[in-house]
């Protein structure tokens, strides 16, 4: 599903990622563990084709970074959900509109947008807050809205960049519960985190990054 073949990434002459070589299978849930600045976010952005590797090739499904064309990227991103640490919700839109937005900009019919948005809000237990704005929600609730938005296009890969950062234990567990449900439905998940305690509570395969390099097991 996702494969990094000897991937290097440099910015302004500085090495951010060095010689990453790994695979994530279809339906697998993998953590990317590392401190701030270790290159976790860059790794996720390479999967999203938001950045191009300096050397090596990134494979996502049937596409790879060496041959992918700019015009194909928006269509690939519709099958890759992305959850940000800072949620990136639009504050001037309601919970419903934030989730529906991701589907409506892809040209989906209004009735289908409504049906799928309501179903997802129900899945993340936020149906009752669909008319509220993000600023009136807790951090955990905002992240659940962001997850719903990431799932609205029914992606085969979900990328999550520190989705539980700055959350209390209860909110963290609720987010993990939702991610596990999504993974159980067949969606591959690559989740960046610096929280080793979370990995201890939910042990799964973990890629550890140290200064941009994978730490051998």
């Amino acid at each position: 599903m996702i494969e990094f073949q000897h991937v290097w990434f440099e910015r302004d002459g500085r090495v951010i990622l060095s010689d990453l070589d790994f695979e994530v299978d279809r339906g697998e849930f993998v953590y990317v563990l590392g401190d701030t600045g270790s290159g976790k976010s860059t790794l996720l952005r390479l999967v999203l084709f938001d950045q191009q590797p300096t050397h090596g090739v990134v494979f996502v499904g049937e596409y790879d970074s060496a041959t992918v064309q700019d015009r194909q990227i928006p269509y690939i991103r519709r099958r890759i959900g992305f959850v940000f640490q800072d949620y990136k919700l639009l504050k001037d839109r309601s919970v419903f509109e934030n989730v529906a937005f991701a589907l409506s900009v892809t040209g989906t019919k209004g009735s289908e947008v409504k049906r799928r948005t309501l179903a997802l809000l129900s899945q993340v237990d936020l149906l009752h807050k669909r008319d509220e704005h993000p600023t009136s929600l807790s951090g955990g609730e905002q992240q659940r809205v962001a997850i719903a938005r990431a799932l609205i296009n029914e992606p085969y890969v979900l990328l999550a960049d520190e989705p539980t950062a700055n959350m209390d234990l209860e909110s963290t567990e609720r987010v993990m519960e939702i991610l596990n449900e999504v993974n159980a439905q067949g969606t591959s998940i690559l989740m960046a985190t610096h929280d080793s305690g979370l990995i201890d509570r939910h042990p799964l395969r973990t890629l550890t990054l140290d200064h941009g390099a994978l730490v051998p097991l």
């Binding site: 015009r71 928006p74 639009l90 001037d92 937005f101 900009v105 892809t106 938005r149």
Partner: protein, 286 residues
């Protein structure tokens, strides 16, 4: 396209006060351009009106023979830009004077002291001052002519005034057009920047570049058009007042001027959004 149009209207609607203020700012800039065009149009009207009234009058000596005066009048009529040459005899001059100043003055005199004259009028669409100077040059020093009214100094003054007015008008027009372009462009930039987060999210959830562009170009166009409509409505509402201020009829119909402003607003809105969006997309991508 319809989805992009809907998204553009939603985005504009959500900008709330910023959106309203931006449209008003665009409208104010375009209104300035509209008022400037009206002022220039009025100045041109006034200039034509003044030129239409320019005349040179050559006062004739009492002993000038009618046939020689006729010959001189024909020579003057042959000059370029001259549209009318009229011979005013002493009786006609007296009649004109009485009409203007009453009978008392002339009645007090034993004989009519007013000289006969040749009155020359010019084509207002041509260079009146050049034509008038040619006429003055022809009659000056002529044995039949006693004096000339509408002389060199007055015409030079008119020439200078028109040159200054044209120069100031062109300079002011350029400054206004540049200022208007900046104002509309910066306003569009403000609107695009206000939606930067939405643009970033659009890109990451798989909106095509064309969709993002179309959405914001439509937004800029709508905003510019609203500003243009505001300016046009204000001009339309105050057209009666401005006509009485300028004292001349406008040669550019107010509906044409209004439509021009709406079109200008539309174009500047699209242009401003295009340039701003390019910068934002580059910034997001880097």
């Amino acid at each position: 396209m319809s989805r992009a149009f809907r998204e553009a209207l939603v985005a504009l609607w959500r900008t709330g006060t910023v959106g309203v203020l931006s449209a008003v700012a665009v409208g104010a800039s375009l209104l300035l351009v509209g008022v400037f065009v009206q002022v220039i149009d009025a100045a041109r009207g006034l200039s034509a009106s003044v030129k239409d009234r320019v005349e040179v009058e050559a006062y004739l000596k009492d002993r000038a023979s009618r046939s020689k005066v006729q010959e001189l009048a024909e020579q003057i009529a042959g000059l370029s830009g001259v549209v009318d040459v009229t011979y005013i005899d002493k009786q006609a001059a007296s009649k004109e004077f009485r009409k203007m100043f009453g009978n008392e003055l002339l009645d007090a005199l034993s004989e009519n002291p007013l000289p006969a004259s040749i009155r020359v009028r010019f084509d207002p669409t041509g260079d009146v001052t050049v034509s008038a100077r040619e006429v003055i040059a022809m009659v000056e020093g002529n044995d039949l002519v006693e004096s000339i009214d509408g002389g060199e100094a007055w015409l030079s003054g008119l020439d200078r005034a028109l040159e200054v007015a044209t120069g100031v008008g062109v300079a002011l027009g350029l400054v206004l057009c540049v200022a208007c372009t900046f104002a509309v462009s910066n306003t569009s930039k403000l609107m695009v920047l206000a939606q930067r987060e939405a643009i970033e999210v659009m890109r990451l959830v798989g909106a095509t570049r064309a969709f993002v562009r179309t959405t914001f170009l439509i937004g800029g166009a709508v905003q510019g058009t609203i500003g243009g409509c505001l300016a046009a409505l204000i001009l339309l509402g105050t057209s009666g007042m401005t006509t009485s201020w300028f004292m001349v009829d406008a040669s550019i119909p107010i509906t044409t001027l209004g439509s021009g402003l709406v079109l200008l607003g539309f174009l500047l809105g699209v242009l401003g959004s295009w340039t701003s969006l390019n910068r934002v997309l580059q910034a997001i991508a880097s």
